[in-house]
Structure formats: C-alpha cells, structure tokens
C-alpha cells in the first residue's frame, strides 16, 4: 500500500516542484529523494513496521512476493535515476514532467504486483501504460519518436480492449471479479471461461511483448528516447510479468493443463524470434530491443511452470535483468554512435566502462558467476520439475547459446577491434554507481539465496 499511495503523491510533488522551483537540479534531487523514500517505506512494510492501512475490501492483497518484487523494482529505479538524470535534461525542456509520469507508472506497478480482483489488474495495467505513451513520444520534433509513441498507443489500447473482453467473459461465466471467489478449475471447462483465458493471455502477451504479439516492440524501443527505452524495457516489462504470473497463478492455476500448451508455444516462439532476429541487427539499441524479447521468453517460463522455482526465478530474473539492462542502456546513452562499430576500441579509451559493460552483457547471456546464470537456471529447473514439455527446456538452452553470439559481438567490438569509440564525458559519480551495480550483479550470481530467501520471511 505504501508504494501505491506514496508514488501517486510523489508524482504530484514532482509535477508542481517544476512549477515552484526553476533550478535545474531541483527535479533530480526530488526524484532521487522520492525513490529513496519509496524504497525505505516499502522495506518497512515488508517488515511490518510502517504501513498505511486502507480498507480496500479485499481488492488488493500484499504478499511477501509482491513486496520483495516492489523492492527490486525500486532499487533498480534508484540505479536508473542515479545513472540517467543527465539524459532527462537532453530530452526536453521540462524534465520534472517526465519524473512525475515515471512515478505514476510506479503506482501502476504497485497495483499490478498486489491485485486481487480483475478490476485492479485492469487499472494497474492502464496506469502503467498511459504515462508510457507520453514518455515514448517525449522527443516531440523527432519523427521516429512520434512513430514510436503512436504505434505504442494504438497497440496498447488495442490490447486493452482485448483484455477487457476477456475480463467481461470471465465475469459472465463466474459472476464476480474477485480472483478468490471465481473458483475456476472445478468441473469441465466452460466455453466462456476458455475465451476469457485466451483473450487475457493475448492481451498480457502484448504487454510483455511475447511473440507473436511482439511486432511493436523493436520500433517503439528504437524510436523512443534512449533513457525512456531503458525504463520501458526493464521496469515496465517485469511489472507486466508479475501481473501475468499473479493472474495465471492465483486465478487459473488449477486448470493449468488446459492452457499450458498455449503458453509453451508462445514461449518457444518468443525465444526463437527474439534470439534469431537479434543476431542480424546493426544497431546496439535495436539489438537490445530484440534481446528484451528474448529475455521475455525466459521469463515466460515462470508462467509455464507455476511452482516455487518459478516464483523465486521470476524475482531473481527481474533483479538480474533490470540491473544489467539499466547499466547497459546508461552506457549506451553516453555513446555517440549506436552501431556495433561505435563500440570499437572502447576498452582502450575507457577500460572501466568496458569492463562493467562486459559484466552486464555476460549476465544477460547467462554466464556463471553473474546473476543472469542463476535466474535462467531457476527458470529452467522450474520447467523441469513441472515435468511437461521437456523439449521446451532443451530449446531454451539452445537459444541461450544463440544469444551469447550477439552479446559477445559487443564485447568483441570493445576489446578486439581497433577504433576510437566516441563517448560523452562520464563523471566519477556515474562510474561509481555503475561499479556498485556491477558488484551487485556478481554478488547475486554467487549467492542467489540472498534474494530468494526474502520470500519466506
């Protein structure tokens, strides 16, 4: 509850802070203070020390899983703000508006990680989406940004319509929006429930950009300003996944055998399309867009398996994926040239940046001793324990091998190619924060239980 209320309030403070103070540093400081307050209050709520109580009539339920997930999101947001406040100023003249919109998105993520009725699921997904349409188009004079924004908006509102139709059919079949009261999974599958589940699956696959509903992703991620691409590809994507997992775990978990094959097909298609298309990209930004589709394929395993490993795995995956991707995007935003050639010889001119970028890329590829290895391991072991469709696990391992190719292309460009990579001046503070993120990725890669044990407090 703390996250939902305080992020909405802080969004308003950010918005009017831009009116009251004209100093350029005010929104930055306000944003970092705000995210720290959200992180601390969320952790306090986790330890039952300080929690705002509102009677929500059982519409929201705050579980350790949701609170740990919120903490991971907020920690990644803290890294994100510390690393990219300078890039906010480059996008437009009024950065405090962007901060305000981002805080509103966090409010939506708070709803998505704790909903217990379909109404709150709908509101959470919409509160996440609507500010993002604006953020994607925030570079108003740039046609690519316009395209990204319009495409995202049309696809997003389309998928909202599909999701609502699914909710309406479920309501027709069960007579309630409450997930606990729905009591699905007894007796044979009614046609209206089947239609509802399939439509909800399509809509949520749109939101998390799983194939075959991924086609908007590369254009939107490529066209949006880099600093907002970083936000969309990490925080928002894992927010969508936690809603996906909660819905399919709590509401449709008992009838898993009915829809598991469909999820398996979506997972396989996402892994295949994301990884294979990423190999052929020339721009690192576009490659990261496809890589985010590929990583979504691995996160789909959580919904496929629906067991303890899947839940722990999703928590671990969100942390590993968010921190590493935010780090790579922060370095990318400093580069002049976004193609692979732009990274040539980075190791000579900026050895520290190149090393940290390498650790993040290795983590995304899932090399041992980085957080990415254990997160992929948990996902796959969850699918093995589940026992159905073992071919999917083999396929995922093969695809992880393919993914190593395009991640190593960046590393090869940085270390083994001649050239002078042009980098905008980086401050010592920037490098220190990146170093903290790097250490975190390595620590999580050695002791993943630090994070997963939190679920059983």
């Amino acid at each position: 509850m703390n996250l939902i209320i305080l992020s909405a309030v802080w969004g308003l403070i950010m918005m009017y802070g831009g009116v009251v103070s004209k100093r350029k540093s005010t929104p930055k400081i306000l944003a970092i203070v705000g995210i720290s307050i959200l992180l601390i209050t969320n952790l306090l709520e986790y330890y039952n020390l300080f929690a705002i109580h509102v009677d929500v009539k059982g519409m929201l339920k705050f579980t350790p899983f949701g609170l740990v997930f919120n903490s991971i999101v907020l920690l990644s947001m803290l890294f994100y703000f510390l690393l990219s406040t300078e890039d906010f100023d480059k996008v437009g003249a009024y950065p405090s508006e962007y901060y305000a919109l981002i805080f509103f998105v966090l409010c939506g993520i708070g709803l998505a990680s704790s909903f217990d009725t379909l109404l709150m699921l709908f509101l959470g997904i919409e509160i996440i989406s609507i500010p993002l349409y604006i953020l994607a188009g925030s570079d108003k004079k740039n046609l690519k940004s316009n395209e990204a924004s319009l495409k995202y908006f049309l696809m997003g509102s389309f998928s909202t319509g599909v999701m609502l139709m699914g909710i309406a059919f479920l309501y027709g079949a069960t007579g309630t929006f409450y997930i606990d009261a729905m009591n699905l999974g007894t007796g044979h599958l009614q046609p209206m429930v089947a239609i509802g589940i399939v439509l909800l699956m399509i809509a949520l696959a749109f939101k998390v950009s799983a194939a075959p509903f991924h086609f908007w992703t590369p254009d939107v991620y490529d066209g949006s300003p880099t600093v907002f691409t970083s936000f969309m590809a990490t925080i928002v994507k894992v927010g969508g996944f936690v809603a996906f997992l909660r819905l399919f775990d709590n509401a449709f978990g008992k009838m898993q055998s009915e829809w598991q094959t469909l999820i398996a097909i979506i997972t396989a298609a996402t892994l295949l399309i994301g990884n294979v298309t990423a190999v052929f990209q020339q721009s690192v930004k576009r490659m990261l867009a496809y890589s985010s589709i590929a990583q979504a394929g691995f996160m789909m395993f959580a919904i496929f398996a629906l067991n303890t490993f899947a839940r722990e795995g999703l928590i671990l995956y969100s942390a590993a994926y968010c921190i590493a991707t935010i780090g790579i995007f922060a370095i990318l935003a400093k580069m002049k040239d976004y193609t692979f050639e732009g990274f040539n010889g980075l190791a000579k001119s900026h050895p520290a940046l190149a090393f940290m970028n390498t650790v993040f890329l290795l983590s995304l590829a899932g090399i041992p001793l980085t957080a990415g290895f254990f997160s992929k391991y948990y996902m796959l072991i969850g699918a093995v324990k589940n026992g159905n469709q073992i071919w999917l696990v083999v396929f995922a391992v093969l695809m992880a091998a393919v993914s190593a190719y395009y991640y190593f292309r960046v590393i090869q460009a940085m270390y083994f190619r001649e050239g002078n990579a042009e980098v905008a001046p980086v401050s010592g503070r920037f490098q220190t924060i990146l170093a903290v993120a790097t250490i975190l990725v390595i620590i999580l890669g050695i002791f993943p239980s630090l994070l997963t044990d939190l679920l059983y407090y």
Binding site: L119, L150, L154, I167, Y171, G172
Partner: protein
C-alpha cells in the same frame, strides 16, 4: 431476451472494431475502432450484470449481485477518457510534424 443475443451483438461489435484496427490506415479511424471495442465490452458487462442479478434475485429478493459489473463499466469509461486525451494529443503531435494522419507514412521511416 436471451443472454445469447447480447453476447452475439457485443462479439459482432468487438470483431468490427478488431477488423477496423487491423485494416484501416487512418490513425483517427483506428482510434475510433478501439473505442468501438471498449464499448462492446461495456455493453456485454451491463448485460451480464443484469443476468447475474436476475438469477440471484430468484433466491434472494434484496440481492446486490451484478452491481460490480456496472461499476466496472464506469471505470472503463474513465480510463477510455484518459486514453482519448493522451491519444488525440499524440495524433495532433504527429499531424503537426508530417501534416497527415496516415499510419503508412510512419512505416517509411523504418530502416
């Protein structure tokens, strides 16, 4: 009237909306089709709400079953209004830059 008629009408409206989104190239018309989809859902929710009320009121005359469906419709209306305000602003922004609302124009920018 049977509930099947309402389901049929709402599904038809929804399908018209989906087909419109997939085939039309004018951003405003696509947007109208999305609104049509949302309104088909509203119609269906109200019909289901009445259906659940009627089935429950046979047993208990003072039942409140079905009210949540109608409340959901209000939430959809509010969210749709928010989406309209953002969406039209995006379309106007695009029109200012390229003096057209044709979606095909944007695809030419792909590299």
């Amino acid at each position: 009237m049977s509930i099947n008629n309402y389901i049929f009408l709402a599904s038809a409206l929804f399908s018209i909306g989906v087909i419109g989104v997939l085939t039309r190239r004018n951003a405003i018309i696509i947007f109208m089709c999305v609104e049509l989809m949302l309104n088909a859902v509203n119609l269906l929710l109200v019909a289901f709400s009445k259906m659940h009320y009627l089935t429950a009121s046979v047993i208990d005359h003072t039942t409140k079953a079905g009210t949540d469906g109608q409340i959901f419709v209000f939430f959809i209306m509010v969210v749709a209004a928010a989406e309209v305000s953002v969406g039209l602003a995006i379309i106007v922004m695009m029109y200012r830059n390229i003096h057209s609302v044709d979606v095909n124009f944007l695809n030419r920018l792909k590299h």
